[in-house]
């Protein structure tokens, strides 16, 4: 079981409480599709993804970004058993969506960069450490049911 310090718990709650999901979700997903273009393979039916401007203006990308970010809510509320919390989602991503689990890491990195931009100086090294540890647990849990 993952051990969380008081600082880490408080930091994760605070970061997500202050987060503007409607802004961060779309920003993170669109950044992922631009920076790691091979991730576009999963969004063949999303329409125009031909260039960065198209991706950032695409309403389906924006909507899905919000969905994915809200998907983290359950982990934020259940930090002591993220693995179980995401067992079903892991099966979904493996059996139905066929997403290479390395993509979770790529999206997590983009989310970190976006949160860093929004929080500025408040995104201290310790906050970054807690945030990345949280995302690493999420990423690992989402990959757990792949076989």
């Amino acid at each position: 079981m993952v051990q969380w310090t008081d600082f880490e718990r408080a930091t994760i709650q605070s970061v997500f409480e202050k987060m503007d999901y409607d802004d961060v979700g779309p920003a993170a997903l669109s950044r992922c599709l631009v920076v790691y273009p091979w991730t576009q393979r999963y969004f063949g039916n999303f329409g125009n993804l031909y260039n960065a401007a198209a991706i950032q203006g695409n309403p389906m990308v924006a909507a899905h970004g919000k969905t994915v970010l809200h998907g983290l809510d359950r982990a934020v509320k259940n930090m002591d058993d993220i693995k179980a919390t995401y067992a079903e989602l892991s099966v979904l991503h493996s059996e139905k969506l066929h997403v290479d689990p390395d993509n979770f890491r790529l999206l997590a990195d983009c989310l970190t960069i976006v949160v860093a931009a929004r929080m500025g100086a408040a995104f201290t090294a310790d906050v970054q450490g807690a945030f990345q540890k949280f995302l690493a647990v999420v990423v690992s849990s989402l990959g757990k049911q792949y076989h």
Partner: protein, 143 residues
Amino acid sequence: MSLSAKEKVIVKDFFAKVSSRSDEIGAEALARLIVVYPQTKSYFAHWKDLSPNGAPVRKHGITVMGGVYEAVSKIDDLAGGLLTLSELHAFVLRVDPVNFKILSHCIMVVLSMLFAEEFTPQIHVAVDKFLALLALALAEKYR
């Protein structure tokens, strides 16, 4: 994955724009490296002070960022231009190349924090590619 002519311009322009704060970027990136990825401290066991805001870490961050800027100036031939640095990392420092990726991530987090407006996805992808190619050039002499 090589840099297009356009991406080289993006990288050169962006790093020129942020050059006045390059020391801060380097110091902050290295501080984050050792805090967020404590295993990297294994390379600095010979320093008396390993605190992220201490003098040795900040000074070394500045040194490393200087290397990044040298690479920007040699963007048209990274492998050739960084030969000496590659030999240093391969034969003397023997830094496991996985750490180049980690440091690149920390540099980009700092760039995003300090230059939120400027570090757009388009600039992010060019810088990410550049840092990856820089890492590859540094690993050139490893084996």
